[in-house]
């Protein structure tokens, strides 16, 4: 089980849930996002246990995954 926390505007894509618990240990971040119905291309930054990783990163049981989009640009 992993915990997925969409930050900022991404929460709107998961009905404003602050976190989701997913059976995604062993999955890539990209696969976990798809499980949560979040399109990976909308995610700009992924933090696993507060460390930045790319979307190919494999998740382990108990990981906390924070994902952030960029809605506005500079």
């Amino acid at each position: 089980m992993i915990t997925l926390r969409p930050l900022g505007g991404l929460k709107a894509l998961v009905h404003d849930q602050k976190e989701l618990h997913l059976e995604a240990a062993g999955c890539s971040v990209r696969e976990a996002l798809l499980l949560a119905n979040i399109r990976p291309e909308l995610v700009a930054l992924v933090l696993v246990n507060a460390r930045p990783v790319d979307k190919a990163h494999r998740l382990a049981d108990g990981d906390i995954v924070q994902v952030l989009t960029v809605f506005g640009g500079g």
Binding site: G9, L45, F71, G72
Partner: protein, 609 residues
């Protein structure tokens, strides 16, 4: 005049005369401040067809009603002028601490006009304002001169200064402040240089009167609390604008080798987390910022430090030039800052020249012996110096890619990446129709900050050409620049997701005037149309052709990366413009109709059509 400094400081550099007059109440009512003041004074005070670098052009520097107050990011200052790069309206925004001191000196706008017979700087200390000899500073770099002023006058003085680029009238010269903040776009630094004004050095101590002190405190605290509570705050502070580097690479928006592609094989070495780990020393914010996105970086290889690089600079001086080392990019950033030239336009000009060289359009004879291939870092450093000094190939590139390509010809116009003469900032728009339209119709040329829509393209379908996309762009263009009218940063709303409604009571408590977002967007539309009319007045034959993007985005699909083979067709480009003009209330040639002007309170401008 609640929320305002209360005066306009007019500086005639030809005569050496400085006057202060009350800020006109009707301009406050109709244009509010900041970018609104800049657009108003530019249109009404600069005579038609004035030479951008001549005495008739003016440089207008404006605070907004929220500048310098207890509001998140209230450190934004607007610089407006007729652009030497485009021949149209230029409006560039500067962060840092300058605008707060300007407000505390009781000034809403500084209007610079005429040309000084010798180099001078403008010294302002509260009510005192005078022009002083600048021969000691002329010829020196902007960071060097700022440091000199701070040592000579004290840290409390804030400095806006040009470098050699501005002195030498480089068409995209910047005005620099706080060792790494720039009013970068449109050549505002060249206009300042043309007036032989090296710097503005100012300090103020006066209070700003607000209409409702308790309401102001409450509204300001509500905004700060919303920023503090945002779960996007920590990553935004850690990475700032570089959050988007990896994402742009992933979605094909990272400018690569003069925008010939949107994904860069060396991209991962430029990503935000890599930069943070390798070179960032600390974070840096502007006045009143709860979410400091600026970064100070140390380049060990060069023994130097710089504020930055921001995403735009990474895109334009990194991937766009085929450079895959963050220290090299940061060093190029430092060179641009000291020389006083815009990193975006400089990166585009050099990228264009590199493509010309690789295609044999420019030869070793043209480049002065430089092997101007993508990825050649020493050549980039040398060329940046040459641009600022307008020497050799640098003289050609100092005019911007539109003028340079016109001069060189041989098909190079097709890969000169600009709209209306302004080099496109760092989002590749192959098959991203909303963002492409945003660039095409932006009121300064191809700049991203008025409306930014790449995520929106991905959300709704990047190839779609539908009225909803056009409506989204117009809404953003009317709404987002209002932060530049208030004198605040837009990034708290943009990236922390702060509810924009929180700004309404803040503005009302400060100014005593209640305005809904509907009314504020009307002011935004008024400014947008006024600027459009400035373009029309200044450029004979202005119309649809001016809004077309670089042919690269409709004729030549990328060969590599995630957007390989993808392109927006020219007929869709025109369809976007058809819908845009219709929704704006403009003619099919992109000219505001008399009815539209009348609706926006600009009826008198219809006579000029």
């Amino acid at each position: 005049m609640n929320g305002y400094g209360g005066s306009i400081l007019r500086v005639n550099l030809t005569e050496g005369k400085i006057t202060r007059l009350p800020t006109p109440a009707d301009v406050i009512r109709d244009y509010i401040g900041g970018r609104g003041f800049g657009a108003y004074f530019l249109y009404h005070e600069v005579p038609a067809h004035a030479d951008p670098l001549g005495p008739e052009n003016k440089l207008i520097i404006s605070t907004g009603p929220l500048s310098g107050l207890m509001i998140p990011g209230a450190g934004k200052c607007d610089f407006s002028t007729k652009s030497p790069l485009t021949g149209g309206y230029a409006g560039s925004s500067l962060g840092g601490l300058f605008t707060a001191e300007m407000k505390y000196a009781g000034i809403d706008s500084i209007i610079l006009e005429g040309i000084s017979p010798k180099p001078v700087y403008l010294f302002i200390d509260d009510r005192k304002a005078e022009l002083r000899d600048a021969s000691e500073y002329w010829g020196k770099g902007s960071i060097t001169v700022e440091r000199m002023f701070k040592e000579q006058l004290g840290e409390e003085f804030q400095v806006a200064v040009i470098g050699p680029g501005g002195e030498n009238l480089v068409s995209y010269a910047s005005i620099n402040h706080d060792y790494g903040r720039e009013a970068g776009r449109g050549g505002v630094g060249a206009v300042m240089g043309s007036k032989r004004l090296k710097a503005i050095v100012l300090h103020g101590t006066q209070s700003v009167q607000v209409a409702d002190l308790a309401g102001y405190r409450q509204a300001g605290m509500a905004l700060f609390k919303a920023c503090k509570d945002s779960d996007g705050l920590k990553p935004w502070q850690d990475y700032g604008t570089t959050i988007v580097t990896s994402w742009c690479d992933e979605v094909g928006a990272l400018p690569t080798r003069n925008f010939s592609a949107g994904s860069f094989e060396g991209g991962p070495t430029l990503y935000g987390p890599v930069m943070r780990e390798q070179i960032v020393i600390t974070d840096k914010g502007c006045f009143g910022c709860p979410s400091p996105c600026g970064k100070y970086s140390r380049m060990k290889r060069y023994g130097s430090t710089v504020e930055g690089p921001e995403y735009e600079t990474i895109g334009m001086l990194g991937s766009n030039l085929g450079i895959a080392d963050i220290q090299d990019v940061a060093q190029a950033n430092l060179l641009c800052d000291e020389l006083g030239i815009d990193t975006i336009s400089a990166g585009s000009a050099i990228g264009w020249a590199m493509e010309c060289f690789e295609k044999g359009i420019l030869t070793l004879e043209d480049t002065g012996g430089l092997e101007l291939r993508f990825g050649n870092v020493p050549a980039v450093f040398e060329l940046l110096q040459a641009i600022a000094k307008r020497q050799g190939l640098g003289a050609l590139l100092s005019q911007g890619v539109k003028a340079a390509a016109k001069q060189v010809g041989k098909g190079s116009e097709k890969f000169a990446i600009h709209v209306k003469g302004m080099e496109q900032s760092a989002y590749a728009t192959h098959n991203a129709t909303a963002m492409l339209l945003a660039y095409m119709t932006c009121d300064v040329g191809a700049h991203h900050n008025r409306s930014w829509a790449i995520t929106y393209d991905l959300q709704v379908g990047r190839e779609l050409v539908v009225p909803e996309k056009v409506a989204r762009i117009i809404w953003l263009q009317d709404f987002r620049p209002m932060f530049d009218v208030f004198g605040t940063c837009r990034l708290q709303w943009v990236e922390l997701g702060i509810d924009r409604e929180l700004y309404v009571p803040a503005l009302a408590a400060v100014t005593g005037v209640q305005r809904s977002w509907e009314e504020l967007e009307m002011v935004g539309a008024r400014i947008w149309n006024l600027n459009r009319m400035f373009w029309i007045r200044e450029n004979e034959g202005f119309g649809r052709e001016w809004d077309l993007p670089a042919p690269r985005f409709y004729e030549e699909a990328p060969k590599t990366g995630v957007t390989a083979g993808q392109i927006t067709r020219l007929e869709d480009v025109h369809k976007l413009l058809d819908m845009y003009y219709e929704q704006r209330g403009w003619s099919s040639n992109g000219i505001p109709t008399p009815a539209t002007l009348e609706k926006l309170g600009l009826a008198e401008l219809a006579q000029t059509l």
